[in-house]
C-alpha cells in the first residue's frame, strides 16, 4: 500500500483552507453565519442653518471619520447649488460647502449611515491647549489660579483634580472665582484651561446622543482628560464622569465644529433614526469597499447572482449523494440524477414536485411501452420519449394553470432529457428485472432527491453556501475523505444480517 500521508494532508489542507476562508469572511468582513441576522444602523443627519449675507459663502463642518464604536457605511451631502467636498486636514475630517453668491436663509445637509460595531477604536489625542490663552485678563488669571490651587491641594491625580475642579464649577452656590470664570467662557473651556494650567492634557470633544427618531438635537460638549494612556470623559455641566454608551462622538480634535464665512446666525442641528438592516447587506457594503474581496460573487449583477446561488448548491447536493451512497448504500437510477431532480424541486416546492415527478415518470413509462411496440431504433425511441415528456410538461402546465395551480408552471424546470433517459432505462429494467427493481431504483432516486432537496433548500445551508465560498472547499474535503471510506454501508448491515448466526459457529 502507498503512504496515505499525502492524502490526509490534502484532505486536511482543503478543510483548513475552507474553514480559514469562512473565518476571514465571518470575522474580517462581518458576514453573518446565519441568515436573518440584523445589524443596528444609525442614519444621522446634520443640518446647518444660517442667513447668507449675499457674499461668497464657505461653510466648513467637522464630520466624524471613524467614530469610536461605529463604522461609517456611507455618507452624502444635500446642498442645492453648493459645491461640496470632503477634506481631511490634520485637525480632522471636514465637509466644505461653497457658493459664489447666496442670500437669505440657507440649509445644508450632511447624512451619514453608521453601523454599531464592537471593535473598539482609539481616540485621537490632539495637541494640549496652551495655558492662559483662553482669556488674557488679570482677574481671570487670579481667579483661575486660586481655584486651581484649592483643587490641586485636595487631589492626587489628573482625574481627581478634574473632579475637584468640576465640583467647584458645578455646585449650586458658586464661589466668586468660579462665577467670574464662567461669566467669560463656557464650562468646558474653563475646565480645559484650568487643567492646562496644571499641566493636565484635556480636550473638548463634542458628540450627540443617539436616540431613535430624535430631531433638532444639539451637540453635547464633553471634556476628555488624559492621564498617561488612560482617558476619561467628564460632562463639564453636570460633573458626571464617564462616556455615555449612546454617545456618538462627532468632533474629537478640538477643532471648531462649524465655521461659516459669509453667513450669520448659524445653527447646527441633528436628527437621527435607527434602522435594522440585514447583516448581510451591511457586510456586502463593507466588502464592496474592499477591492480585494470585491472579486466575490456579490459583485455580479443580480440575475447572474441568482443563477450562481443555484450553482453553488450543486456541490451540497453532490455531497448528499456521496453520503447516501457511500455510507448508507441507497441505489439510485443515474448517480447524480437526484441532484438535478432536487434542483427542480427547489423551483416547484416539494409538495407539488414529488407528485409531478411520479406522475411524469408513470405516464412516461406508459407512453414508452407504446413506443416500444413501434419497433424503433434506440436514438429515435429516446427522442420520441423526450418529445412526449416535453408535451406532457406542456399539458400539465396548461391544465394546472387553468385549475389555478401555479406549481404546474414550474414543471419546465425538470431536467427533461435526463428524465427521458431515466424512463428509457426504467422501462428496460422493468422488462428485464421486473417492476420491483424499478420501484427500488426510482424510490431510491426520489428519496435521495428529497433528502438532497431538504438540505439544499435549508435557509441556513443556502445562506452559507452562497456567502461563504470556503464551504465549497470544506465540502470538497469531506467528499474526498468519504472517497476513501472502506467501512460498511448502513444497508449492508441489513443485507448481511443473516450472517449473525455464523457468529455462534466460530
Amino acid at each position: 500500500m502507498k503512504s496515505r500521508t499525502p492524502f490526509y494532508a490534502l484532505v486536511a489542507g482543503l478543510f483548513i483552507a475552507g474553514v480559514v476562508l469562512i473565518a476571514i469572511q465571518r470575522y474580517g468582513y462581518d458576514v453573518p453565519l446565519l441568515p436573518g441576522e440584523h445589524r443596528e444602523i444609525w442614519e444621522v443627519e446634520a443640518q446647518v442653518h444660517f442667513e447668507a449675507t449675499g457674499d461668497p459663502v464657505l461653510v466648513s463642518l467637522a464630520v466624524p471619520d471613524q467614530p469610536a464604536g461605529y463604522l461609517r457605511l456611507s455618507e452624502h451631502t444635500v446642498s442645492p447649488g453648493y459645491g461640496a467636498s470632503v477634506v481631511e486636514p490634520a485637525t480632522g475630517r471636514r465637509v466644505e460647502w461653497s457658493i459664489r453668491h447666496a442670500a437669505g436663509p440657507q440649509t445644508l445637509y450632511y447624512k451619514a449611515r453608521l453601523l454599531l460595531s464592537e471593535t473598539p477604536s482609539t481616540l485621537p489625542a490632539p495637541a494640549p491647549a496652551v495655558p492662559g490663552t483662553l482669556v488674557r485678563d488679570e482677574a481671570f488669571r487670579t481667579s483661575a489660579e486660586q481655584l486651581l490651587q484649592e483643587a490641586y491641594a485636595r487631589s492626587a491625580s489628573p482625574f481627581s483634580l478634574t473632579r475637584e475642579l468640576l465640583r467647584n464649577l458645578t455646585q449650586p452656590s458658586l464661589s466668586d472665582q468660579a462665577r467670574l470664570l464662567l461669566s467669560q467662557a463656557s464650562h468646558a473651556e474653563v475646565l480645559v484651561d484650568l487643567l492646562a494650567r496644571a499641566g493636565v492634557h484635556a480636550t473638548v470633544v463634542r458628540g450627540i446622543y443617539l436616540r431613535d427618531g430624535r430631531r433638532q438635537q444639539k451637540l453635547e460638549t464633553f471634556v476628555q482628560v488624559r492621564d498617561g494612556d488612560k482617558a476619561q470623559f467628564f460632562n463639564p455641566r453636570t460633573g458626571r464622569e464617564g462616556r455615555p454608551g449612546d454617545l456618538l462622538l462627532w468632533e474629537v480634535n478640538g477643532a471648531p465644529v462649524l465655521d461659516v464665512v459669509g453667513g450669520v446666525n448659524s445653527t447646527l442641528l441633528f436628527s437621527m433614526i435607527k434602522q435594522y438592516q440585514p447583516a448581510l447587506e451591511v457586510s456586502q457594503t463593507l466588502q464592496k469597499a474592499d477591492a480585494l474581496l470585491n472579486f466575490s460573487i456579490h459583485s455580479l449583477p443580480v440575475e447572474e447572482r441568482a443563477m450562481f446561488q443555484n450553482l453553488l448548491l450543486i456541490p451540497v447536493g453532490a455531497l448528499m449523494v456521496v453520503l447516501l451512497r457511500v455510507f448508507v448504500g441507497i441505489r439510485t437510477a443515474g448517480t447524480f440524477m437526484p441532484v438535478l431532480i432536487a434542483l427542480a424541486f427547489m423551483q416547484t416546492s416539494l409538495l407539488a414536485g414529488v407528485p409531478l415527478f411520479i406522475l411524469l415518470i408513470s405516464v412516461g413509462l406508459w407512453l414508452r411501452s407504446y413506443v416500444s411496440r413501434l419497433n424503433l431504433l434506440l436514438v429515435s425511441r429516446v427522442s420520441a420519449v423526450i418529445i412526449a415528456v416535453v408535451g406532457l410538461i406542456g399539458l400539465f402546465s396548461v391544465l394546472s394553470f387553468h385549475m389555478g395551480l401555479n406549481a404546474g408552471l414550474k414543471l419546465m424546470f425538470f431536467p427533461m432529457v435526463i428524465i427521458s433517459w431515466t424512463i428509457e432505462r426504467m422501462s428496460i429494467l422493468w422488462e428485464e428485472e421486473g417492476p420491483r427493481e424499478v420501484i427500488v431504483q426510482t424510490g431510491g432516486s426520489l428519496l435521495t432527491a428529497v433528502i438532497a432537496f431538504l438540505v439544499m433548500n435549508n435557509a441556513i445551508v443556502k445562506h452559507v453556501a452562497f456567502n461563504f465560498i470556503g464551504l465549497q472547499l470544506v465540502i470538497l474535503s469531506v467528499v474526498v475523505a468519504a472517497g476513501s471510506y472502506t467501512g460498511y454501508r448502513l444497508l449492508e448491515l441489513r443485507r448481511f444480517a443473516g450472517m449473525r448466526e455464523q457468529l455462534d459457529v466460530h
Binding site: 448504500g329 431504433l377 472502506t486 441489513r494 443485507r495 448481511f496 443473516g498 466460530h506
Partner: protein, 332 residues
C-alpha cells in the same frame, strides 16, 4: 434486522466500499478492463490461452446486418449477447426456433422482428456499461451438465469463482429459479450455493439473502450437490488470472456436456458469494496477501487454494482463518 459493524468485521465480511477501494482499485489495472468488459475480447484472449468458451456462431456489428440475423441460425437454440453488457443485461436465450418464431428460455415465443429489435437495441448501446455502441454476439446454446438437471429451472447454472492474485478464494454455484426468470443473478432470485473449495461439495444455499436447504422449484436438497471435475474448474479459474491480468476477478464458468466453459469474466464481482458460503472473504484475501507463495503455475495455485481454503483445512483452525500451506514441495 441489523448486524453490528463490529460483528460483521469479526466475520470477515468484505463490504462494497472496501471491495472497491482495497481490492478492485488496488489490484485491477484500469487498462485491463476492456479485456473483461468486452466479451468478444475475452473470448479472443481465452482462445489464445487455450481456455474453452461457448462457440460464437455470428457477430453482428452494423445495423444493416441485423436483417440477416435470423437466416442460418440453428433451430436447436442459441443465445444473443451484448459484448459489453453488464450484470446479465440484454442476454436473450432462445431454446428453439421454428414456425412459431423463437422460444425464449421461459417458454414465451417471440417473432423475428422482436429478435431484430433486440439486436438493434444492443447495437445502440442500451445494455452496455456507459451506453456506448455495442456489438451482438450470437453464441451456441450451452447444454447443461446432467448433474444439475434437477437443480436449475429455465436456465443454466453457473459457477462464480473469485480469483485473487491468481488464487481461487471462494466459489458459488448459481441456480436459476422460476423467481429469477431463468437468470442466474442472485438479486433477481436465483439460489446461490456455497461450494467447499477443497472438494466441490455444496455447503448450503441462499435465496434473497435467506438460507434455503432445497431448490425452491424442484425441491431437491442442495446438500447432495457436488460439482464434478472440481479441480479442473479451479485450475481453469486460476488461468483466467494469467489471461486477464486482473488481481481481483470473478470468473463465471458453466458446465457444458463437453466440459467446463468460461462464460465471462467480471472485474467487479459481487459480494453475495459471502452469504452463500456463510463466510467472509477477508480472511482468505488476507491469507493470499500475506502467506501465498509466488511464482506458482495456475495448476499449483488451484491446488494451494484447495488445501488452504477447503473445509478439511479450515476445521483445524479455530477462528476460521486459513492456515498457510507450508509443504510447497507437494505441488511438484
Amino acid at each position: 434486522m441489523f448486524i453490528k459493524p463490529g460483528e460483521l468485521r469479526r466475520l470477515g465480511i468484505v463490504g462494497m466500499n472496501r471491495r472497491n477501494l482495497r481490492y478492485i482499485h488496488t489490484y485491477n489495472d484500469r487498462s485491463r478492463y476492456p479485456a473483461v468488459d468486452d466479451k468478444l475480447k475475452t473470448k479472443l484472449l481465452a482462445r489464445e490461452a487455450g481456455i474453452a468458451t461457448a462457440q460464437v456462431l455470428a457477430v453482428v456489428r452494423r445495423p444493416h446486418e441485423v436483417r440477416h440475423l435470423s437466416t442460418g441460425l440453428p433451430r436447436h437454440g442459441f443465445v444473443l449477447k451484448p459484448a459489453k453488457g453488464s450484470g446479465g443485461k440484454g442476454i436473450l436465450v432462445i431454446r428453439e426456433s421454428g414456425e412459431r418464431g423463437h422460444q425464449k428460455s421461459n417458454g414465451h415465443w417471440i417473432s423475428d422482428q422482436d429478435l431484430q429489435r433486440h439486436a438493434h437495441n444492443t447495437l445502440a448501446g442500451l445494455f452496455s456499461l456507459a451506453g456506448t455502441p455495442d456489438v451482438v454476439i450470437v453464441e451456441e446454446l450451452i447444454h447443461c451438465d446432467d448433474t444439475f438437471a434437477d437443480y436449475s429451472v429455465e436456465g443454466v447454472p453457473d459457477i462464480r469463482i473469485i480469483v485473487f492474485r491468481g488464487f481461487p478464494v471462494m466459489a458459488m454455484l448459481r441456480l436459476a429459479t422460476h423467481a429469477s426468470d431463468g437468470k442466474a443473478n442472485l438479486h433477481q432470485g436465483a439460489v446461490g450455493v456455497g461450494i467447499d473449495m477443497g472438494s466441490g461439495h455444496a455447503v448450503g444455499g441462499v435465496q434473497f439473502n435467506r438460507p434455503v436447504a432445497c431448490h425452491p422449484d424442484t425441491g431437491k436438497p442442495l446438500e447432495h450437490l457436488t460439482v464434478p471435475g472440481w479441480s479442473a474448474i479451479l485450475e481453469l479459474a486460476s488461468r483466467c488470472y494469467d489471461m486477464s491480468g486482473l488481481g481481483y476477478l470473478g470468473a463465471d464458468i458453466v458446465l457444458d456436456r463437453s466440459g467446463p466453459l468460461l462464460l465471462e469474466l467480471n472485474a467487479r464481482p459481487g459480494l453475495s458469494i459471502q452469504v452463500a458460503n456463510r463466510q467472509g472473504l477477508e480472511p482468505r484475501l488476507a491469507h493470499i496477501e500475506q502467506h501465498a507463495p509466488t511464482g506458482l503455475t495456475a495448476a499449483e495455485r488451484a491446488v494451494y487454494a484447495q488445501r488452504a481454503f477447503g473445509h478439511a483445512a479450515q476445521d483445524h483452525t479455530a477462528a476460521g482463518d486459513p492456515a498457510p500451506v507450508t509443504d510447497i514441495e507437494a505441488f511438484g
